[in-house]
Assembly symmetry: C2
Homo-oligomer: 223 residues x 2
């Protein structure tokens, strides 16, 4: 069985590849994500390569092998199903479940995972809208725009938030910018790097201003 540490390295490599579409993840980036020194990351990645979980090219970086990706998706499946259990069944706060799930994801067996999946009715997304890989390791491909790029003056539905930071999520919660919320982008000012939007469900008709970077963390689709 893969150790907790190995599972975390593979998960981070997988997640890093999502954003920067390049094949190889540079060591420095991985070391950062894992919060270890660069030397530690190099050592560990070489061990992962020996176990055929990743491909490693010195000074270029690391990428998942078939087997590594499979394992990473499995970890992600556990993580996201646990998050949903914590929110839906144990009524934990949306903003906190990510950190809780970080630990629990390494402790649950296939049996428990299946029981959670069944109880929750085979869900396809976690509380942040992140897709839950199937038991077979498939991820439903999402191709959403974001609040930084969607058309103006048209209502859109928030479907996913690309940030797990509790403080940020608490802010998101207070604004009402949670998944399923319907919002309309009224204006974008590229020079000021500002996005002005209105939340449909918010009767007070107040506007919100977000920076472009923050707006890009909200994925949306037609309602």
């Amino acid at each position: 069985m893969a150790s907790k540490t190995i599972e975390n390295y593979l998960k981070q490599i997988y997640l890093a590849r999502q954003e920067s579409r390049g094949k190889f993840i540079p060591m420095g980036r991985l070391a950062n994500l894992m919060e270890v020194t660069p030397g530690t990351a190099t050592t560990m990645v070489k061990a992962l390569a020996d176990a055929h979980l990743v491909g490693y090219e010195p000074r270029r970086g690391v990428k998942l092998s078939r087997a590594g990706e499979h394992l990473a998706l499995h970890v992600l499946r556990r993580h996201r199903l646990v998050e949903l259990l914590l929110v839906r069944v144990l009524k934990l706060d949306w903003s906190q479940v990510h950190e809780e799930a970080e630990e629990i994801e390494h402790a649950i067996s296939e049996r428990v995972l299946e029981a959670i999946d069944r109880l929750l009715g085979r869900p396809v997304a976690d509380p942040h809208g992140d897709p839950i890989p199937t038991a077979g390791g498939k991820v439903h491909p999402q191709r959403f725009t974001s609040l930084a790029t969607c058309p103006l003056d048209r209502p859109v539905r928030i479907v996913r938030i690309l940030d797990q930071e509790p403080n940020f999520l608490r802010f998101v919660d207070q604004c009402g910018l949670t998944p399923q919320a319907i919002v309309r982008v009224q204006q974008r000012d590229p020079l000021a790097d500002a996005v002005r939007l209105r939340i449909a469900t918010d009767k007070s008709a107040r506007c919100r201003i977000l920076s472009g970077g923050v707006a890009a963390r909200f994925l949306v689709r037609d309602p």
Copy 2:
């Protein structure tokens, strides 16, 4: 924070003291319970003693300190609440939850624990009837007889089973000797080491014969 290993040592020392009422647990016994070599147990116990979690006297054995017992009870609380969650909410089989909880007990935070406790309605016992320590570390003292010692020909209620072995629990399940079942001991034969009993809820009026040792693993009280 105490590591998983430390938590397990403390838990085993606590559980061992329950049975053999002597103050000190001999090293050999602990090494057995932890499935490590005696040398490993000695090394580890000396480290625990340095952390003031146990008292250690060479060649006599080990016992929990106040702090160690507190931690052990906390682990046990997590273990038993998780077991109950797995049975009641996730509908897992009674006979399997012990091994599942062995892992999960080290992964859940105070917050999650509290949420489980609330969801389950502050339960006082897990699916095997083992008492759940309170958040403050109190255990409701149980003083039950067992099927090996209770009065004959009087109905009694099974309240606890002192064995977590899946095969044994499956057998218990099939017999209907689960917690809450009402049974009557009809006869004891000390020489044959046999206990004959009838299960009240079993319409077929069939009898069961258990050895004295097995009978002693079923704690009972007046219905």
